[in-house]
Symmetry: D2
Subunit: 194 residues, 4 copies
Amino acid sequence: MPSTTATISPAAAISLVANEALRAAERTAVSSSEQLDALADLLLDARRVFVGAAGRSGIALRMTAMRLTHLGLEVHIVGDVTTPAIGPSDVLLTASGSGTTESVVRTAQKAADAGARIGAITTAIASPLADLADVVVVVPAAQKLDRTAAASDQYAGSLFEQVVVLLGDGLFHALWQRQGSSADDLWPRHSNLE
Amino acid sequence: MPSTTATISPAAAISLVANEALRAAERTAVSSSEQLDALADLLLDARRVFVGAAGRSGIALRMTAMRLTHLGLEVHIVGDVTTPAIGPSDVLLTASGSGTTESVVRTAQKAADAGARIGAITTAIASPLADLADVVVVVPAAQKLDRTAAASDQYAGSLFEQVVVLLGDGLFHALWQRQGSSADDLWPRHSNLE
Amino acid sequence: MPSTTATISPAAAISLVANEALRAAERTAVSSSEQLDALADLLLDARRVFVGAAGRSGIALRMTAMRLTHLGLEVHIVGDVTTPAIGPSDVLLTASGSGTTESVVRTAQKAADAGARIGAITTAIASPLADLADVVVVVPAAQKLDRTAAASDQYAGSLFEQVVVLLGDGLFHALWQRQGSSADDLWPRHSNLE
Amino acid sequence: MPSTTATISPAAAISLVANEALRAAERTAVSSSEQLDALADLLLDARRVFVGAAGRSGIALRMTAMRLTHLGLEVHIVGDVTTPAIGPSDVLLTASGSGTTESVVRTAQKAADAGARIGAITTAIASPLADLADVVVVVPAAQKLDRTAAASDQYAGSLFEQVVVLLGDGLFHALWQRQGSSADDLWPRHSNLE
């Protein structure tokens, strides 16, 4: 977070954001390589994947959820009108920068109580969310609440949320390649009513 | 899009994704620097900002919309229950990789008919959406429908959608700095009911 | 629609609304009895049920969609992040007071093109939507656009939308009874993550 | 709830549902007449109206929220991407059959802590939600969790949720008449981008 409020052009800001995102994504990929493998397995082995988080992390995971649908998985968004009850053999995919977001921890607790497995993305390995999760991917990015942190020049959890997007798309890419299907195989699964 | 279906680890895929995203974001920042300035002005001068797009581009723009709300702008998502009618002095912020997505072009046409101004992100400067827009930011990324393109190894419009996320967060960062407000100024605008 | 703007107490207005809704629902039940049987069959025979409409009709149908999920059907909301492509053996359940709502007619056309069957609720048997539908339930209520109509004292399509709610819950009730399941059978299907 | 699983035609079920809804709505109008007046005042005096509830009650209130937007009020749905922080002079409009729904009580508590006023619809005058609310409208309908109740032949909270719809539309009708505006005044406020 800048100590001064010197202005920056949008172009320069985009470069700043994209470079921070790349660096944090690369660091996550290196340091959590095995956990990412485990998360990929968790998703592929799931009967159904439930996806949900709070705020912008939740929006970011919706991008991932749509791609998992294109992959042919049965995916549900927590809170959607038609989302069924979670149960054993299901997986909850969630994210919280701090690992302490009340609603996310509560959802994870309910998923665990129902016998589901949990994959979580967070910056905090020592957190209630990480404690509940079967697989934890740790992102070395500033937490949302850490508003004085030096880890990022960006506001609040922005960097974390960007990494959730990139990480979700990286996971999708790896699962897609593993599946051995072509783009033409996925295309017919795209929504065709809009 | 890979010619072979050689598997790739999630970690390697995340690196691939993040590097593609950085490169495309940087190229956009350089080549559309003035248009990004104009888009920033368009948003700040708007009475209200309406945000909407189809599929994953629409999800990506929701991340931007939430940050614009934190900035103190009045923002509405196209299709939300409480979204009012758009009119003069309002701005529609939208995105379509191909610039031809039916629902997006239709929405842009309606916004233009209502006297609103339009900011659009697309890969195609020669497209119906670009024709309708007051400010066009061109992203040098593969189009969604260009399923054989060499521009990206990723599926469909993934790269474009990642750039929309980074570009939106870059815009926010620049607007925030220009506003001269601190993180503590924005924090009280975050939703406090969840 | 009142010719004068004489005030009315909320209590009196609720009575007015509820009486209009009952009368229109009863008239629909009587005059469309066979079509309602056909709609019930359509839903039960569907591989998957896709639900969508515009504005308040769309919200009303979401209430129905949630109950169909509780019944054990696979249900998707048009436009939701995880909604797959519709195809043969699937059913689109939709509603439009006028039967001409652009987005609804377009969605119905796409569903028909994809080989899906369509169940539609409308006030207009002679309408583009009715023409596309396999089963049409006609509600004798004022149309949204018929702003001078004498059919209802309420605003716009309010009466139609209320009937969509009652009709959806009536359909659910009949399907539930036909299924022979108890409340305790449905309960475990309620979302358990919120 | 039926003791037997005798089948019932959709037409008969719609009649059953509509008659239950009318009766419960009428009873609410009579017994809560003054509270409904107070709720109307609460909404009109609010700087902004925040609307939210769980499950089908939440969907029902979205129908109300859209109409309040048409009336010219500033309305936000709890959990929407662009929903700002609630504060003093704002109102939370919510509903819970049992008055104990965890997420609803939590939201109401947060609204109260932020200095907002609360209007609540519930079947239970003695409940955590009613305790938190400034205005409570009591609906004499079966609670969702009261799965053996004789108050309704319908499943779970269906009757309550139908009454929320009718009550919301009755409130809107009364506010509209009080405002003295015509249908043509409201029409331009309808969303024009879809």
